[in-house]
Symmetry: C2
DNA sequence: ACAAGCACTGAAAACGTTTTCACAAAACGT
DNA sequence: ACGTTTTGTGAAAACGTTTTCAGTGCTTGT
């Protein structure tokens, strides 16, 4: 029924070995290569990738495991990863964990079964801390979030520095009751919280940090409760773009005026953040670069498994807008 | 080196056939099944999916081909598709075509080589019109956009009706120089344009439609040029959420007041559309349902290849906001 | 008690490629 | 002109599973 390499071989009058070599990069004379090409076209042959992978023991596939593709940060990173992968003739298996360690374990097992060439992984803190030396039997690059210390390549943001920059800016604009609402699941959120706390201490201010699931709804509820409570902050730092959106919603719902009643600052320069009124002060992350660099690190690790572990730290870019009383 | 099914068989003291059956759903006695489970645990065996696919001739994989995952519409649909797929033990191969017919052809070929069980596809108009009866050698469900007429299952929006609803609303609010800026690449954009034109005609108004690439930047430039020109509209209908964002940017850049100088209405209830001031009137699409229904149609088609072609038409929900002078 | 069926198991074939191996012919160095 | 390499080719093995086929031992119905 379906046409295989032996049909092509028969049509071209050569052996299957020659067809395979003509399609790949083996040494084949020009004459035979032309015959094979013609036979491929005539038969409409499509190589069976499962068979190829089984025999060649290389899948040309990478896994990409993130919390939720609907978070625009991961959307953008994923797109960059996919472009780089397809550009290099590789496929991507995308998995959404929803910050759930059980699903992370499930997908890591799937990656083993797929015999992926490598994995790009943004883990929860739980998983990152539980992972030991031999637990990932494939090259792995951690992105956005730290993996187990010292074991794998990674590419992260200078989270503490970025948080501190936001706090410094808020203090300079005259805010003092600066609260921080951070994600509860990632090392990144924790680093942002620590950077916030350190900067607050440096300014002699009392840090007020809370943690929730890093999603818009959870942040909206937490922020709303905070605004109702006895210690209403005059500024709020949010740990990512989704939470920033939640906080903005909560402020609007309470009728708070920004930036006079409340300043807002956060992470991720999502396209809408300069569309609202006032625009929101954010730390822009180099999303495309994170994706392409992650693939680069992974390729190099695959090519050279024993090279020393590398950690790439990128800087965010602060964009000051009206939500913190800036221009 | 790597542990295979024969190692498990040896460890369990049974044949590979029995291991395979114990792991699958074959008939195996309880005693042996327990031995096999123990051996699997002891050896840390991970089945090789490439080998399984090759032998069993079923890949349990579906392709998902969309224009750009960064478009929140496709992001949400993709997430729903992936959830449904993984929930049924299938994998997803995601491809971004950037509205490019050449890349569509490339990825369709890839789907053949992967021997996917089926494909979910949002094609450009070019490709949809070029596709003949035998061109897709796998079950295919078209989403968001029409495929070749009558050949495949599909799930689309009532685009013309939704457009007309927007026009009717704008007319009721007193607007009359209502322009339409639509995507140039999809049947969907064309249907929205036609629905717009028909509604305008019904109201005795002159339709003014333009078409550009369905992206924020292109729409912003086109809208800006339109606002500068001699025939500035007093309302604009946009063909998707990205273009709506572009038009909103252009209006703000020109200092136009919404809704007094200009009304804005479009498609896709993206999270930011009710965050800007004024909120934007949109047609909300049932994104999650589109994704899950697409997978359902695909599963049913795979299970029963010869059943009649089905076309599911979903209705959008109009959400009237300040950008059209609504409450 | 015996034929017929049933439930379970193992040996071996099969899936569609790539790769190894052996070898013939051509090219090369002296 | 003669070994020695190089180049190109085909036959067959190999990749790691699932599935077919042919039992074997039990149960069942009569």
């Amino acid at each position: 029924m379906t046409v295989g390499i032996r049909d092509v071989a028969r049509a071209a009058g050569v052996s299957t070995a020659t067809v395979s070599r003509a399609l790949g990069k083996g040494p084949v004379s020009e004459a035979l290569r032309a015959q094979v090409d013609a036979a491929v076209r005539a038969t409409g042959y499509r190589p069976n990738l499962s068979a190829r992978r089984l025999r060649s023991q290389t899948t040309q596939t990478v896994g990409l495991i993130v919390a939720d593709i609907r978070n625009p940060f991961f959307t953008a990173v994923s797109r960059a990863v996919e472009d780089a992968a397809y550009g290099a003739g590789m496929r991507v298996i995308l998995c959404n964990t929803d910050e759930d360690a059980a699903r992370e374990a499930l997908y890591l097992r799937l990656m083993e079964e797929e015999r992926v060439s490598g994995v790009i992984f943004a883990p929860t803190r739980t998983t990152a801390e539980a992972l030991g030396p031999g637990d990932l039997p494939f090259p792995t690059v951690f992105i956005d979030r730290a993996g187990p210390p010292g074991l794998h390549d990674s590419i992260v943001l200078d989270n503490a520095g970025a948080s501190a920059a936001l706090v410094d800016h808020l203090v300079a604009r005259g805010y003092s009751r600066i609260g921080g609402l951070f994600g509860s699941t990632s090392s990144t959120a924790r680093e942002r919280r620590d950077g916030y706390a350190a900067a607050m201490a440096r300014h002699g201010l009392e840090a007020q940090a809370r943690a929730v699931l890093p999603q818009a709804e959870a942040a909206e509820m937490a922020a709303a409760a905070w605004f109702e409570g006895p210690e209403r902050p005059d500024a709020l730092v949010l740990s990512n773009g989704q939470m920033l959106m939640g906080a903005f919603r909560a402020a609007r719902g309470r009728g708070l005026r920004i930036p006079s009643d409340l300043a807002l600052a956060g992470f991720d320069n999502e396209p809408w953040t300069d569309l609202v009124d006032p625009g929101l002060t954010v730390i822009e992350q180099p999303v495309a670069e994170i994706g392409t660099q992650a693939m680069r690190l992974l390729f190099e690790r695959i090519a050279n498994p024993d090279q020393p572990v590398r950690k790439v730290t990128l800087s965010g870019r602060a964009i000051f807008r009206g939500s913190t009383g800036a221009a």
